[in-house]
Amino acid sequence: MTAISMNFAARLESLIGPSRISNDAAACACYAVDEVLPTAVAKPTSAEEVAEIVRFAALEKLALVPCGNRTKLAIGMPPSQYDVALDMTALNQIPHYDPGDLTVSAEVGIPLAKLNSVLSEHKQFLPLLVPWYSRSTVGGTIASGIDSPLRQFYGTARDFLIGAEFVDGTGHLCKSGGRVVKNVTGYDLHKLLIGSLGTLAVITRLNFRTFPAPIAGSRGFVASFPNAEGALALRRTIANSSLTPLTLDIVSPELAQIFATRTPATPEATTVFAGENRAADQSFLQPIGDWFNPREWQLCAAFAGTTEVLDRYARELTLVAERSRATSTAILGDTTRPAVWGRLRESLSMLLEASPATVIFKISVLPSHHAALFTNLQHIAERATLPRALIARAGGTVYFALLPASVNEDTTARLSQSIAQIFDLAFAAGSYASLLFAPPALKERTSLRSQQLVAPASSRLPANSHAELIPGVAQMRRLKSAFDPQNIFVPGRFAGGI
């Protein structure tokens, strides 16, 4: 620990109290981002304390990384400077909840599962069933921009985040939006915070509209196919029908295999939906039964409604699946559904646990391009002899993972080559690929650094022009300067070198 760092930790202590600051090496190690360690950890208890810390950091040019329960800190590039970890988990209250208006205001550090358990008392919920569900904070979920299978019906956070309070880079507490479901007062700055990885502001409070929990419960549906085409055809039929399932995902055989053979390391939350009783705290997902065929492509849907509606879904989905030549179909009831749904929700965490060097891409592509994309991704993985897996949301978003069995120079080289090919593939298809998760060693390779984890990119272009191909990247840089003029919030982690 250098004298300067000791000095600033001591001065931070004078701002928010000694019990809220630590520069202990073990504590700092817990807050590492891609192996980069902070010099101190601060755990503010109020938005005012956050503002104090930010003003101090702006003055001293200290780089801050705000975080919740640190489940998704690996998303993004390693920070180019990292002085203080801002642990936001002490801001964990629900200052406002109006069940009659279906709106809630939550402090940033409250775990999603805790918030949903409060909402469930009024038969409401927030449709963010994201990976690491039981541990994820509301703030981390928003800042990471991670999506949930429920986006098929409820949309993403941008559709139900109605306001926010946050500390900007000048250390002032600001707000945008409000606490009502319809509002066009001022710029929608809170939308910019979604997926910003903390680079614009330190979020202190988030306002959401809530949703009624499915009335008569919900059901799941799984259809298996020998190839992706069958699953895609069935999905198209459903999309063109009157049915509006809550989730609609295609799971590749390799991911199905992971589902069938593994259990997520993250324990289950006690409450997911209203009225759903879980046995005990810290329970884990039950294994999937042997009816789940891991060698095939699976189309997984969830639906909800009255008994008549549930019956109609079960009937029609089974019928159209049979017409699409599904090898098997199943309706999941209360006993089987949690095991499958939980795994679908935890797809990303399970993929990360499945290999010592998992690489996960998020590819945003129109659904009509999925068939070609799946084939091309398969070829890339086969050429590099790397195990692979994917999950595709019906709206178009695809998560594609490369899963080497071991880490060594050779696999790193093959991964690196595949990554470049996937960026090129996405670019050629007119879509966007973001490298969500990758081992730090891979991220540090210069080719990646220049691409800043985002395509469209082409290896034929000069390296430093890749980032310029992100739509609006110059405008993003201007926004970053407007929010954070001193560049103290998580520098270097975001798209375009922000």
Partner: protein
């Protein structure tokens, strides 16, 4: 008007695309609000390149620029508050693509909202945001103001349906943000630009999501003898998690005026009606309609009618959507307010609006999106009576203050524009303004694009010259 700029604009676009005579400009001096603002020149670009060139010319002569769709806005957003060049997008009105498989459409900003829905219909699709002015308002204007409408209760406002934009920045640069799919990498720029009221960029192309037409629709008309009962029904419908596609309220005074004009079938002797629509699978619609009926009956609805067929359904909606036109028969002018409250506060707010009306000597009508707490009180006044106009504005400000007091918002779908810019400090702190100003300046540093909007004049672009309307214009009815 600078003759050099006029000459260059005419050279660029041609004589038939430039208006500069006072009698022509007067047509562009107003929108649907009570505000006025006279442009110096009105131009009709037909391409993005035109728009960029016009903006560059305006920048060269340091003249402000404002974009305009159909001019149906209700907050003065598309008015030239400080004069300058007005770009009217009426001739950029092509639907460039309908991609039915991916449920997307790409349109130019001048496409009329309803025309897109009509074009999507053969594919079983439609464009969900449906402002009351949907048969004339443009999608470009919808994007600028983040417009709503009755069916946004279930399907969200404009921003929820926009995935990508082509923009012209105030320096003339053409930029694309977002992606056709929607999950573009980086910050959600499309989310920022939608609803920024043309203060950050001009929109020249829009990619939107199209929604699938529901299998079944039921439109219910619940008739009440007391406004309170109607309001309590809305609270209960929300609290019991019934999710109608639309839930509109018309109070007795408003519905009588509408009925006189449109003959939609609203009962003349009722105190309020709720126009409620439920959509989806036939089975779900049946259950929801039954639940709505049950709630309204429990709150003493005199009758709950279900529209028997499409014709009756369309007539009911015609009554709702053309209500503002009907009100024009009662007074020379009406001021349509736009405030939002938490839905749980609806009954008390309607009582308070009535009190405020009595206090200031106005009959204030209410016709609004009850389901999402978006109020539209209507104050009728005669603009020739300046004292009355002042009183109308005071009463309106009082209502908006009350909305904020109960935890609501300044505007739900009409925008801040000129109308509410001076009320913004009721909501935002100096720190909030400072950040919004820095965001504004990141794109529009010289404040040449739509000056005098959103920000209070003291907190916006420093000293801006707001011109008084010519005397003869101000006194025109």
């Amino acid at each position: 008007m600078n003759p050099g700029l006029l000459h260059e604009l005419t050279k660029l676009l041609g004589e038939d695309s430039v208006l500069h005579k006072l009698e022509d400009l007067f047509l562009y001096e107003y929108d649907g609000s009570v505000e006025r603002g006279l442009p110096d020149v009105v131009v009709f670009p037909t391409t993005t390149e035109h728009v960029s060139q016009c903006v560059k010319l305006a920048a060269k002569y340091e003249v402000p620029v404002v974009g305009r769709g159909a001019g149906t806005g209700l907050s003065g957003g598309a008015l030239a508050r400080t004069g300058g060049v007005m770009l009217v997008f009426a001739r950029m009105n092509h639907i460039l693509e309908i991609d039915s498989e991916n449920q997307r459409a790409v349109v130019q900003p001048g496409v009329v909202n309803y025309e897109l829905t009509r074009a999507a219909e053969p594919h079983g699709l439609y464009f969900a945001p449906d402002p009351s002015s949907w048969k004339s308002c443009t999608i470009g204007g919808n994007v600028a103001e983040n417009a709503g409408g009755p069916h946004t209760l279930a399907y969200g406002v404009t921003t929820n349906h926009v995935t990508a934009l082509e923009l012209v920045l105030p320096d003339g640069e053409i930029v694309r943000v977002g992606s056709k799919h929607g999950d573009a990498p980086g910050y959600d720029l499309a989310g920022l630009f939608v609803g920024s009221e043309c203060t950050l960029a001009l929109v020249t192309e829009i990619t939107v999501k199209l929604s699938r037409q529901p299998e079944a629709v039921k439109t219910l008309l619940a008739i009440f003898d007391f406004v309170d009962d109607a309001a309590e029904s809305v609270v209960d419908i929300t609290a019991r998690a019934i999710t109608p596609a639309a839930c509109e309220m018309l109070d007795g005074w408003t519905l009588r005026t509408v009925e006189d004009y449109i003959h939609a079938g609203f009962p003349m002797d009722s105190a309020a009606v709720l126009l409620i629509e439920v959509e989806g699978l036939a089975e779900a619609v049946a259950a929801q309609a039954a639940a709505v009926n049950e709630v309204c009956s429990a709150h003493h609805a005199r009758e709950v009618r279900v529209a028997r067929d499409n014709a009756e359904r369309e007539l009911l909606w015609k009554g709702r959507k053309n209500a503002f036109g009907a009100l024009g028969r009662l007074a020379p002018s009406n001021y349509v307010l736009d405030g939002v409250i938490p839905r749980s506060k609806l009954p008390q707010t309607l009582r308070r609006i009535h009190e405020i009306g009595t206090q200031f000597g106005f009959q204030i009508g209410n016709i609004f999106h009850a389901g999402d707490g978006n109020l539209h009180p209507i104050v009728l006044y005669d603009p020739r009576d300046t004292a009355q106009f002042e009183r109308a504005m005071q009463a309106s400000a009082e209502i908006i203050r009350y909305c904020l007091e109960v935890g609501g918002a300044l505007t739900g779908e009409h925008g801040v524009g000129m109308e509410k810019s001076e009320l913004m400090p009721l909501v935002f702190s100096d720190a909030d303004f400072s950040l919004m100003r820095r965001v504004h300046d990141a794109f529009n540093p010289d404040c040449l694009l739509n000056p005098g909007k959103i920000f209070p004049l003291s907190k916006g672009c420093g000293e801006i010259r707001v011109r008084k309307p010519p005397v003869e214009a101000a006194s025109r009815p």
